[in-house]
Amino acid sequence: MIPLRRFLHTPEAIAGAILLTALFAMALSASLLFPGDPQAIAGPALLPPFQDWSLPLGTDRLGRDVLAELFHGARTSLAVGLAAAAAALAVGAVVGTLAGFAGGLVDEMLMRTTDAFQTVPSFLLALAFVSVVGPSLGVVVIAIALGTWTGPARVARAEVLSIRERDYVASARAVGMHPLEIAFREVLPNALPPVLAMSSVIVAAAILTEAALSFLGLGDPNRVTWGGMISEGRAVLRTAPFLSIVPGIALVLTVLGIYLAGEGIVETTAVRRGLS
């Protein structure tokens, strides 16, 4: 467990780890602590927090348990964030590797496509995609990935361009390895570290985008999301601000936690590389 101890070296990383652990605990325990539908009516409407200890964070306009919604919302946020980031990283890494390794016309075509995606604001892209295809969890994931894969693609391509010239790639060619095997077995794994370093930023951005889509009513209507909760609370912002504040804080802490933990990981790997 030496890497973990090294990871927990800085206060930022510790804070990030605590926040992330809490988030995962919320997501995993949601159906244990709050079995049943979080969107079911649990009590009187608009109950303020800390009044009734069976409903600690009170209820919303329809009398739904805010705490249960918060826990189930953590699931959606994490699931969408992680899935969208994984999709964006995978697509980006593959596109970047192919472009950088093949060069020439393939590179031109792939990178101009990347440019095209990058010139459209990613949120508008996601918005348009969900509006056309219709809101569901899978569509939201694809919509978010659509706008974020370009960053990883550019980083991967830059890395591949330098790795392509290394002796071990020449050695693989000399031994008769197929170009696709060279690209994905020799080059891609060595190009990944800087791409993965972007993952925390992408996960955080994906969670925010998901929240924004839900806020605009384009999230999966069958799932509780923090963005949707904020949107719900907006109608009664003056009388019951906590309905927007509680999921808002959850969102801020989540993004902060992911970002800090990501920094910690980058720092850890940098230290390890510096030592070797």
């Binding site: 002796d167 071990y168 060619r173 008769g176 060595n190």
Partner: protein, 259 residues
């Protein structure tokens, strides 16, 4: 028939708007089981020729005939298949391997790619290859970065001979090694040549080593052939300016001087 015949090979690079001719109208041939050395100062084009001969880069003009076939006419799958017969050992054995590789994986690649051994048979073949180059078969699971420089270069040689090539290009393959290790690797290379009749294209700037192991030498200067012929005859009495300069610059160890 020559094993490798290179004729009028030319390679130009564009660098900052200027065209640099790295290899200029170079012709030579290698016979089976022969060692031909390419020697010259840095920038003389010897490494470029090595990469051209292996088709890691493409020439601008000239021809390469390997084992009687037009090597430049091959592409795709036939080219990859033919690569089994023409292998390479690089200068820096650490840079020549994927940093994530293990010894076993490095030796598994050529056996798998060229269908030399079935999956179940390969571990045995890998062990045999390691033993052939004087290493313990127990080295197989080790990571490349864990073993010593001399061991790495032996693994590189094992990888090169795995496909039973007729020609191995040795690109400064001894330059990065400690002198005590260098002698052992040299012996290994000569032993392999004797046993398997492998020809070597030996790229080096060290005339002392060239003189001891090469049959013939091609001295290069600025991408052109300055002189070529019997290695000992040329190094003992160079005629070209670059040959004279290289010989004059080689350090001499006069051991006869007493205290």
């Amino acid at each position: 028939m020559s094993l490798l015949a290179v004729s009028n090979l030319t390679k130009r690079y564009r660098r900052g708007g200027k065209t640099v001719t790295a290899v200029d109208d170079v012709s030579f041939h290698i016979e089976p089981g022969e060692t031909l050395a390419l020697a010259g100062p840095s920038g003389s084009g010897k490494s470029t020729i090595a990469r051209l001969a292996l088709r890691l880069i493409e020439p601008d003009a000239g021809g390469i005939e390997f084992e009687g076939d037009d090597f430049l006419a091959l592409s795709g799958s036939p080219l990859r298949a033919r690569r089994a017969r023409l292998q390479m050992v690089f200068q820096d054995p650490l840079a020549a391997f994927n940093p994530r590789a293990t010894v076993a994986r490095v030796l598994d690649d050529p056996l798998r790619i060229h269908g030399i051994a079935s999956r179940s048979e390969r571990p045995r073949r890998i062990a045999a290859l390691l033993e052939r180059v004087g290493l313990s078969a127990g080295l197989a699971p080790r990571a490349i970065h864990e073993i010593s420089g001399g061991q790495r270069q032996r693994v590189a040689i094992a990888r090169a001979i795995a496909t039973k090539p007729s020609l191995i290009v040795l690109d400064e393959a001894l330059s990065a090694l400690d002198v005590s290790v260098r002698g052992q690797i040299l012996d290994l290379l000569l032993d392999l040549q004797r046993q398997e009749r492998i020809a070597y294209l030996f790229i080096s700037h060290d005339l002392g080593v060239v003189r001891t192991i090469a049959h013939r030498v091609v001295l290069l200067d600025g991408g052109r052939i300055a002189e070529s012929g019997d290695a000992r005859a040329i190094i003992d009495a160079p005629q070209s300016a670059v040959g004279k300069a290289l010989v004059a610059a080689t350090p001499r160890l006069n051991r006869s001087i007493g205290p």
